[in-house]
């Protein structure tokens, strides 16, 4: 029998993948971050209306390591990073796998602006020059990358206003079908300042309680990372978790238990910021691959 060609042909990409992950580690270690491992299997994830955790015994596989990472920050750890597996049920498409690799990093005493600087520095560190080619498009990585507010993006690209989209529950649809396809391709772009109701774990702007200090990074029009200044008020966080959990139950979704230890320890969390970046998508960019299947050894369908 001939060796499995679909595996043979991935060798060069998987070599490059390994190298990129080593570069990511080296970048954070050089910037004095501590690499942390936290359990993949946890009693409770943060309740989010649109993220389905996979149950295992009485617990769940993590959908993100964020709650454990923030508990460490709350205990006084300054700069943390983790590269780990996350699981989200039902997410499978050309840019989604139900099991995928996530990079998260956190700073104590900084806000989300610092994370935008980090993203620029990380990409420049991984790329050998100041540009990369993806989908036959040249993406200019020279910092600073453009920052566009969600409100500006709606004004520019959406067929309805942001206010209407929030009332009619079309925010996500407009984002996916009208805004994302029109974001710049030739420059990485930070979409910043999300409506507070679309940022359950983020701090709101001191100047505007309706706007959260959250951003999404898009590169080549593809969503790469989600970041925010952390909400550090346990009472407010409890309230938002309750709202998300109520919405989950109303929508008939699996009820999640409360994240008790996280909510308790949030009390000692100093102003901080954190980001989650999709490692597989980052590798798609640097290996010039259109489909996530091409940058992992096995997709679920191949097992």
């Amino acid at each position: 029998m001939e060796p499995n060609w679909q595996l043979v042909r991935k060798l060069s990409t998987l070599k490059k993948r390994a190298r990129i992950i080593q570069q990511i580690r080296a970048f954070f270690i050089a910037h004095d971050f501590l690499e942390i491992e936290t359990p993949h299997r946890i009693p409770a994830n943060a309740p989010e209306l649109n993220i389905e955790a996979i149950p295992t015994d009485d617990w769940f596989l993590q959908t993100s390591p964020e709650l454990c990472m923030k508990r460490l920050l709350a205990a006084g750890y300054d700069r943390l990073f983790q590269i780990c597996r996350c699981w989200r049920s039902g997410e499978r498409g050309t840019r989604h796998l139900p099991e995928y690799s996530m990079l998260e990093w956190y700073h104590r005493h900084h806000d989300y602006h610092r994370l935008m600087d980090d993203c620029e520095a990380l990409f420049l560190d991984i790329s050998s020059g100041d540009q990369l080619t993806w989908h036959n498009n040249i993406i200019d990585l020279t910092p600073p990358w453009p920052r566009i507010t969600v409100s500006e993006a709606f004004a520019q690209f959406s067929s309805i206003t942001l206010e209407t989209a929030l009332v009619t529950n079309e925010f996500d649809t407009i984002m996916a079908l009208e805004i994302e396809p029109n974001l710049p391709i030739d420059r990485p772009t930070f979409l910043i300042e999300y409506p507070a109701q679309h940022a359950s774990l983020a701090r709101t702007k001191p100047s505007d309680p309706l706007i959260a200090e959250r951003f999404e990074l898009y590169v080549g029009g593809m969503e790469i990372a989600n970041a925010f200044s952390e909400l550090t008020d346990p009472a407010e966080q409890q309230l938002r978790f309750n709202q998300e959990e109520t919405q989950r139950r109303e929508a008939g979704k699996t009820p999640y238990p409360p994240a008790v230890a996280f909510l308790k320890e949030l009390d000692t969390l100093d102003p901080s910021c954190g980001i989650a970046l999709g490692v597989d998508r980052l590798i798609m960019l640097f290996c010039d691959k259109d489909v996530i299947d091409d940058v992992v050894s096995f997709t679920p369908e191949e097992l």
Binding site: M1, V8, R9, L49, R92, T94
Partner: protein, 187 residues
């Protein structure tokens, strides 16, 4: 009933009373938002192609189509000709109806013909088909890296990526679900 999580390429749904097939499918999710299921659908009666995006929570009726065992005979000006193996009755499917499935038909191959009442509206392919490479550039000497591939065209006109060691005239197995090369076939 199907839910959004059942949607995938090749699934057949009843929409406004007509059977439709999903010819392209993608799952997308903006930020932490609601999942969207982007489908390109073909009306299996009229052949019309259109895009539709569904949101989680929607449900779909399966298009229950009778499958009839037939053999693919040949292609001529009228289209692609199949024969019922029991009754010897012949049916003809057009290129538009077959879509990309036309690339995976080999003379005398057994296929399931999908019937809508008495009308043939599509086929159900075997998972693997063997097709002969009709055109591919020769292996470049010195190209010894494992895993290198090159484009090749098979006898039906379908083009795919194959390993660099596959020569013209080689019989190869293709996975009809993905359209990908699987292996060379020993003859």
């Amino acid at each position: 009933m199907y839910s959004c999580s059942d949607l995938k390429k090749g699934l057949k749904l009843l929409i406004d009373g007509d059977p439709h097939v999903i010819v392209q499918y993608d799952f997308t999710k903006p930020g932490k938002g609601q999942a969207l299921y982007k489908c390109k659908l073909r009306n299996m009666i009229t052949g019309a192609l259109f895009d539709r995006t569904y949101r989680s929570g929607e449900s779909f009726s399966p298009a229950s189509l009778e499958e009839r065992d037939m053999q693919y005979l040949y292609q001529d000006d009228s289209g692609y000709v199949f024969m019922d193996k029991k009754s010897y009755e012949q049916v003809i499917l057009t290129e538009e109806t077959l879509g990309d499935d036309k690339y995976f038909l080999v003379d005398n191959m057994d296929v399931e013909i999908l019937m809508y009442g008495e009308r043939a509206i599509g086929i159900s392919l075997p998972i693997f088909v063997n097709l002969r490479v009709s055109q591919s550039d020769p292996w470049v000497k010195g190209d010894t890296a494992a895993g290198n591939n090159k484009p090749a065209t098979v006898e039906t006109g379908y083009t795919l990526q194959v390993p660099s060691f596959v020569d013209e005239g080689t019989l190869i197995q293709i996975d009809t679900r993905t359209g990908n090369y699987v292996t060379r076939v020993k003859e």
